[in-house]
Symmetry: C2
């Protein structure tokens, strides 16, 4: 990896931390250069435009999410264990993604959902992709007989994702261990309603 590439990654890493608090639009080339001991123009040369920097930051956020949530879950056996791992790691990510400002993907989605352009296109694509990941995992779990036959994968994915998104929204302002326990109980119940309990037979 050349020096330029390394510098670029350092910049994007710091920018991701800043953006998680100030938002993608709150990023400032001058401020970022100051934090890193670089000149404004030197930092700018790595990207060519502020929007390109924002896109790089978003890419980094997605990569972090995939590494923290998706990849570990896909390593679990297919079916219910994998679906449960997706949800569990997601909740963990919401509570502690390692960035000072909470989940940058949720923040960016809410920030850019009404501003046409490549950023919104990226967000739309990533959110749809994540949704599909959940739906596919649910469908697979049904196919493997872990969930009741006839389970609506789209709806199950929506119930799980809406609960997690809703938790993410409330967790930052209200938060607390009570809420943390509640979201876990709710998610467990959603799954329990469609799970095939191979001890007691179907409900």
């Amino acid at each position: 990896m050349g020096k330029g590439q390394q510098t670029r990654e350092t910049i994007v890493g710091t920018a991701l931390e800043v953006a998680s608090v100030a938002g993608l639009d709150g990023l400032s080339i001058g401020d970022l250069a100051g934090r890193l001991g670089l000149s404004k123009s030197g930092l700018f040369a790595h990207f060519g435009s502020k929007e390109a920097l924002q896109r790089a930051v978003l890419d980094a956020a997605v990569a972090r999410f995939v590494a923290t949530v998706v990849r570990p879950a896909l390593a679990r056996p297919p079916g219910l264990p994998r679906l449960e791992a997706l949800v569990t790691h997601w909740i963990g990510w919401i509570e502690a993604c390692g960035l000072p400002g909470g989940c940058p993907l949720l923040a960016a989605a809410v920030e850019f959902d009404d501003r046409p352009g490549p950023i919104r296109d990226m967000l739309r694509r990533e959110q749809a992709l994540w949704r599909d990941t959940l739906v596919r995992a649910a469908r697979l779990a049904t196919g493997l007989g872990h969930l009741r036959p006839g389970t609506d994968a789209d709806r199950l994915a929506f119930e799980l994702s809406a609960t997690a998104y809703g938790y993410a929204v409330q967790q930052r302002l209200i938060g607390g261990p009570v809420l943390a326990a509640m979201v876990r109980a709710v998610l467990a119940d959603i799954l329990a309603r469609v799970r095939v309990d191979d001890v007691a037979g179907r409900a």
Copy 2:
């Protein structure tokens, strides 16, 4: 109402539209003055600081939410009808609150959840207040015998609110009538699970 007060309300109304798209921090005094045919200094004099303008905009957003969602629902008879009305009007607000950028309260909550200050304090207070409104409605419905005895009002309120928040997050980027139908079905099922069905007896 004096002329100043009227101008102030015009400013805040336009600012609310802008902020719903650009965010509270995306508000710009100069831009706002240009839209309204006012001078920067003339507009500024009405508030004294940008933060005071942001607070006024937030107040206006809350007032709009109360007028559109809370008040009509509180006009319904207490118990299950009122709780259902709260949720139904909320979903309606999420889909069409009359502002170009979607629900400004959700946007502000995500934007400011990690920035200490009076804005975040206001948001925290309002979000907690809205939560309490749902919890109280649920508790009242249980007390009136509309919901199963022993129903956990906190948890029911969380299930409903998380579903709505989660819908709000996904609706703007993915959206569509399928999702709209799904959230309504999910909310109906959440209520059906705790409702006392006085025709067929408890389940």
